[in-house]
Amino acid sequence: MTTPGQVAAPALRRFADNLRATPRRLRETMFRTGRPDTDRGRSTFVFGNVFLHLHPARVHRWSLRPTFTMGLGIFTLTAFLVATVTGILLMVYYKPSTALAYDSIKDIHFVVPTGRFIRNIHRWSANLMVVGVLLHMGRVFYTGAYRAPREFNWVVGMALLAITLGLSFTGYLLPWDQLAYWAVTIGANIAQSPREVTDALGITAWFDAGGFQKELLLGSDQVGQEALIRFYLLHVMVLPLALVMLLAVHFWRVRKDGGLVRPVDAEARLGPIPAGTYPVFTEAPQKTWSLAALVKGKTPAVGRGPEGTLPSMPHLMYAEMAVFMLACLACVVLSLLSDAPLKELANPAVPENPAKAPWYFLGLQELVSFSAFTGGIGIPTIVLLGLGLIPFLDREEQGTGLWFGGPGGGRLVALSAAFGLAAVVGIEAFAIRFGWIREWWLAAPQLLITAVNPGTVLTAAYGAWSLWAVRRYQSTRAGALALFTCFIVGFVVLTIIGVHFRGPNWQFYWVPSEWPGH
């Protein structure tokens, strides 16, 4: 305690000193640690920051190899972040009403400063996000990263794939142009397509799952104001929120499931840390502990340095930053090269011809052109279920953490790709050249066509090939490799046919310049 007389002057000085020190103190309280130039500093840099603490303090060199992950997860996340930021900017001007939507997009495109650029970035980041999700799924599959203890995260990934496609599809309607209107009309009628089966069975009057789905989606029996506001709500609120929540689970599980997958002998495969690597752990701990009862993963051996690992700051952070910048660059460059399309105002009386959905749905549209229910609901459900079940059906361990690891390996994948290609091209060529059951037998029962069409024949061929692989290599992993490869090839080929080779009235044309004038 001091007397008031003594304190007066020093208190004022203290106040001035505090004021002067405020910027420094603010920085110190915000970032509790100093520069990350010691082992300890690098570690606290990561786990002392709420945005970074999902990262490990140390990361294995296997996970850092660019050829292993190719940065596809961060790439996809970046595309999502870019789409979120540009989406919020577009919401400033966009008006979700059938009378105003088209004009507001036109304003954004032609009047709003930087509007066209932002819209282009939004469209390209959405496309890159879909590409990223698919490639990331391929990486995780081919490196066997879905295996124990990561099975559940694979399932979460499936949900994220579905939400990503949902986000794209709901965004497709918002410009309210011809492309939007007819793609969503087709989409909504795919939701209604269980009627193809219930009608054939004559039970639609009692059990109309298709009609219910369509009504729920459109809020009406045709695409109109109700549909627009519902799609808008899904696009800007419901799906992004669901995506963010599942993303949090997805990332958290990556850590809790023991980080990225790597082979058991990763250290032997990598060899010693190269001489030029900086920084490495200078003071390798003599002991390591882990909460064996609480945290999954193998306990590091006590008395051994954490070989093969490097500090996340800077190795992982800089790698992630590089992917982040690359993804942003890709969005910007593509946006400068190519404008987002805007067709004529939606006209419910005259369909766009050909009416094409976004490119990643054109493979489905190709299947739908044989049977609405099989192509639009049956086969997608089988594929999603099949993908989700992979980690529970293949529980082997051989080849985990290696590209195309497992019995058969790269050779089986190449063989399957060749088989998948031959099957899909053969069946498509047959259907395009000779037609299908309805053309040979007009009165054919619809259920027969729903059950037997190029889509189901292709699915059956792929299933048979996969069973052959299981028997040939006596391995469920071989079966999974065969099936997954076939489906990827089938998806790509059907998509290319839908995008490039289908013209007006969904007829086959070698090049778009052969399309009849319109």
């Binding site: 007819w182 009309t185 087709i186 909504a188 009628n189 795919i190 209604q192 397509s193 193809e196 009608d199 054939a200 219910f212 009504e215 729920l216 809020g219 009406s220 029996d221 045709q222 109109g224 104001q225 109700e226 419910p348 009386a349 005259v350 369909p351 766009e352 011809n353 050909p354 009416a355 549209q365 739908v368 052109s369 044989f370 049977s371 609405a372 639009g376 037609g435 299908w436 059951i437 309805r438 053309e439 007009l442 619809q446 066509i449 729903t450 069409n453 007006p504 009235n505 969904w506 007829q507």
Partner: protein, 165 residues
């Protein structure tokens, strides 16, 4: 949530289980009550999302056939996905909404073609080429006299039903 096995649990048979403790019972009852409430609340909120009244425009409209319309020629009702035909037996209306995925079919030499997935229909709506699963719908027509008709897109009639002008 289950109680620890007591000393005499070992001698009891599977069919004669130890009585559940009151605390466990109340806890489980509360849990299931909460889950049940959540389930019913979710189902209940679906009722809001499913529209009670469809806000689409009126399905009934009036159309006048031009005198010059030849027998058997298709007449597209302006702004409506409907085609009207007058022949010797009378007048009929066929919906132009494709039964495959809801695109609007366009008149062609053979009848109607769908631009979306290549379905083809005969002039009377019968399927000539897939993937459409069903023929085009015939719609209810009422004559008001003087070449004017009321078509109801919401009411289907059996194929072949015609109305006298």
């Amino acid at each position: 949530m289950t109680s620890m096995p007591s000393a005499d649990a070992v001698e009891r048979s599977r069919l004669d289980p130890e009585p559940m403790r009151r605390r466990d019972f109340l806890g489980l009852a509360a849990l299931w009550a909460a889950l049940g409430t959540l389930l019913f609340a979710t189902l209940g909120s679906l009722k809001l999302v499913k529209p009670g009244v469809l806000p689409s425009p009126s399905k009934k409209f009036r159309v006048t056939l031009p005198e010059s319309l030849g027998p058997g020629d298709p007449f597209i009702a302006p702004g409506r996905p409907v085609v009207l035909v007058r022949d010797a037996a009378g007048v009929y209306a066929v919906s132009r909404v494709c039964t495959h995925l809801g695109c609007i079919v366009q008149p062609s030499l053979s009848g109607f073609d769908c631009p979306c997935h290549g379905s083809k229909f005969a002039a009377d709506g019968a399927v000539i080429k897939g993937p459409a699963p069903k023929p085009l719908k015939w719609l209810a027509v009422t004559s008001l006299g003087g070449g004017t008709f009321v078509v109801d897109e919401g009411e289907n009639v059996p194929a072949g039903t015609r109305v006298k002008a």
